[in-house]
Point group: C2
Chain length 436, copies 2
């Protein structure tokens, strides 16, 4: 069922098809629905949130139930065991330590003639984090979104998440949120939650940046509100591309492919290897592990449609194909992974060597697991502290500096037909001459 | 005509109205047109470009005329005088010098148990720059977009710009493009140009990131193709907010306001001052300068609709109002501008002191003049080298490290119901035990 391809042209065509796997969706129709939800929440506030929660989540809430209460937050700690709490706290520490590296800092530079130039970094006032419900209610997602905001120094971080089934919101998610420093949690999901964060309602204050993954409605809503607020990215289904040599263990490679496929029927798992024996062993092992897989149906679907093994002529060819695909996750299960890294131009995260399965990075190595998908690694990067920071350019000219540069500015302004631009310099220079 | 307001509540309401000045546009209808243009160019390539150029620009082109020829590029140098060329070259040097500061660099960090973590920065393969035609054909825009891409190390930078009237493309724009390192220039504008850059045509190769300002059709097209390619931002009409004290020269302040207003009938120019005498003098001077202004009609319109003077009780209050507005350009024409900077949370660029008119930064101080508008400074920053860079996270775990962290990863994976994630670690740890 996991196809093995040996021709380069076929491989390129298949990789293109897999990369474009979300392009075919009928988004225009869904966009009309999302647009209506956004407009209604903008106009009606909380009332619209309750209406859509009843309609889409089959949950009747009162206004005062929108915000998760302190007692519910406390209770969540009773529902997670010590091992899990320890693991969440370990992940918190490691993610925070990594994100504290190389955070952009404000600077000024003093030049000739008392010119001062610089950049002043400040965090956004408020961040809003979307955490999906249902199958994808992951505490790790909470940490990966909230900790960069906390490191950036964002004073208020709000989280929204669907109300959940009768049991309510996953307690591990509520614990992760508190460990990561989130104080406000609201029981609302879908496009209506994105609208609440973008425009504000009586209960939920407007934020400046919205991050976090979601289904197609959430993603469309984020795209539509982009410009009113900042967003992290438009997340698509997850994907891994593995480059493996004959030193790789086929059982490990197969498990790593399934670890991607088990996320979503649209997830993609690709192996590029020069070793045709490894290719066959991995394909067989994937079949074997699928038989008793707890998420067999969806995992099988992903493997059938978006699973692929390509036998390549060399590791260099594998790097070229990988660059064309620009994978979200790239595993280099090869003897000398650092040699190949220099040939990789586009990848969200690179996992080096035989003992670094993607799960290491998904949970607690430190780097963010929110990564560009569907070829977006060609131009985008992981979510990070920068997502919650912005800077102001700083410029100070002295009269002397303005005098020296004035003529060039006036020439450029006049070329552009911007008379007052030229005057704003000219009048100051004339003053200067008067003073002298 | 330039209104003076003294009540805080009125000021807040007016600033909100000015900040939201582009929200009312009937974008949904225009979006349908833009969507059609994008789809047609995606399907028909060059043929669609020629069709739309004939329809929207009233210009009949042959396919081979889409790309600006080498002889045309050479000829442009004959059409600009030496002063202008010198000014362009000076601006190039200064912009490049500023953008070379603090460019993110790749790094790795070696931890305990042979854990290696890091980030590897790489430029995008191709950048596409949109340069408007007509009233807004500015050589400075070319420099501000192309130089950051060049500093980022982007191998190919393509520029698109409308074909222009009978005289063709502005020669100063063609010279600036060459000085900034652009080699490919295409004679196409509007949404069709954005489509060509996003999807590629027979003549114009697909790019990875599109930057540059444009009219509402260009901006909508950029929003729609975001996700297929990266974009810089959704630029709105320009704005300046000036905080001035009694030491400011009213003639200079008035000229700076007009320098913003002369861009666009939607441009905004706001003065906040504790000095009511200065407020009146500035308002009178604006009227005086408008009489003979070369762009009187549009400038007058901007001042009438989006010009505003607020008499504030203190500079601290001015800073608060400025933070609510989050201006693209902020001028601090006050005695101690560095004292007030610390109270500013949101501003695209800050111009400090009496002798730093915004024009200094528009042309050649060095920092980018492409800045967040309409309140986007709450979450966004100037265009920069980062716009054209992205990074891959790097993660390497040793068998020992995986052994130590393994249980925590397995606990988290099992909590999330991701069995193969847990297995990808478990099977490797078991192997390790076997080896030992």
């Amino acid at each position: 069922m996991l196809r093995i391809i040996t021709q380069r042209a076929d491989a390129e065509a298949e990789l293109r098809r897999i990369c474009d796997r979300t392009q075919d969706e009928q988004v225009v129709h869904k966009e009309a629905t999302v647009r209506e939800v956004l407009q209604t929440v903008k106009r009606q506030g909380d009332r619209a949130l309750l209406h859509y929660t009843a309609e889409f989540d089959q949950k009747t809430l009162k206004v005062e139930e929108l915000r998760v209460s302190g007692s519910e937050l406390d209770a969540a700690y009773q529902q997670v065991n010590k091992d899990l709490l320890d693991a969440i706290q370990l992940a918190c520490r490691q993610i925070e330590a990594f994100h504290r590296q190389r955070v952009p800092k404000s600077w000024v530079q003093f030049g000739t003639d008392d010119i001062v130039l610089g950049k002043r970094y400040t965090p956004v006032d408020r961040a809003g984090i979307y955490i999906p419900g249902g199958r994808a209610a992951y505490p790790s997602t909470v940490l990966m979104n909230a900790i960069p905001a906390k490191v950036a120094g964002v004073p208020r971080i709000a989280m929204v998440t669907p109300p959940g089934s009768e049991k309510g919101i996953n307690p591990a998610v509520l614990v992760a949120a508190q460990e990561a420093g989130i104080q406000e949690i609201y029981r609302v999901g879908g496009a209506q939650a994105i609208a609440a964060l973008a425009y504000g309602t009586e209960t939920i204050p407007k934020v400046d940046v919205i991050t976090g993954p979601g289904n197609i409605y959430v993603t469309l809503a984020k795209k539509l509100v982009y410009g009113t607020v900042g967003i992290d990215s438009l997340a698509g289904p997850s994907e891994v591309l593995i480059i493996a040599d004959s030193g790789a263990n086929p059982i490990h490679v197969a498990t790593d492919m399934l670890a991607q496929a088990e996320h979503d029927p649209l997830a993609a798992a690709i192996l590029l290897t020069p070793d045709s024996a490894l290719a066959r062993k991995v394909a067989a092992e994937v079949e074997r592990q699928l038989v008793n897989h707890p998420r067999r149906l969806l995992t099988e679907k992903a493997i059938a449609h978006y699973g692929l093994v390509v036998v390549v002529s060399s590791l260099a060819e594998a790097a070229e194909l990988s660059n064309q695909f620009a994978p979200e996750h790239l595993e280099l299960e090869i003897t000398e992974p650092w040699d190949l890294v220099n040939q990789i131009r586009h990848a969200g995260a690179i996992f080096l060597g035989y003992s670094t399965p993607e799960a290491v990075g998904d949970y607690l190595a430190g780097p963010n697991h929110t990564l560009p998908t569907s070829g977006a690694a060609r131009y985008a990067s992981a979510l990070g502290v920068e997502t919650f920071l912005k800077h102001s350019s700083l410029i100070q000219y002295s009269p002397t500096a303005l005098n020296k540069m004035g003529n060039a500015i006036i020439t450029l302004a006049e070329t552009e037909g911007l008379n007052s631009h030229a005057d704003s310099v000219r009048l100051r220079i004339e003053n200067r001459t008067d003073d002298a």
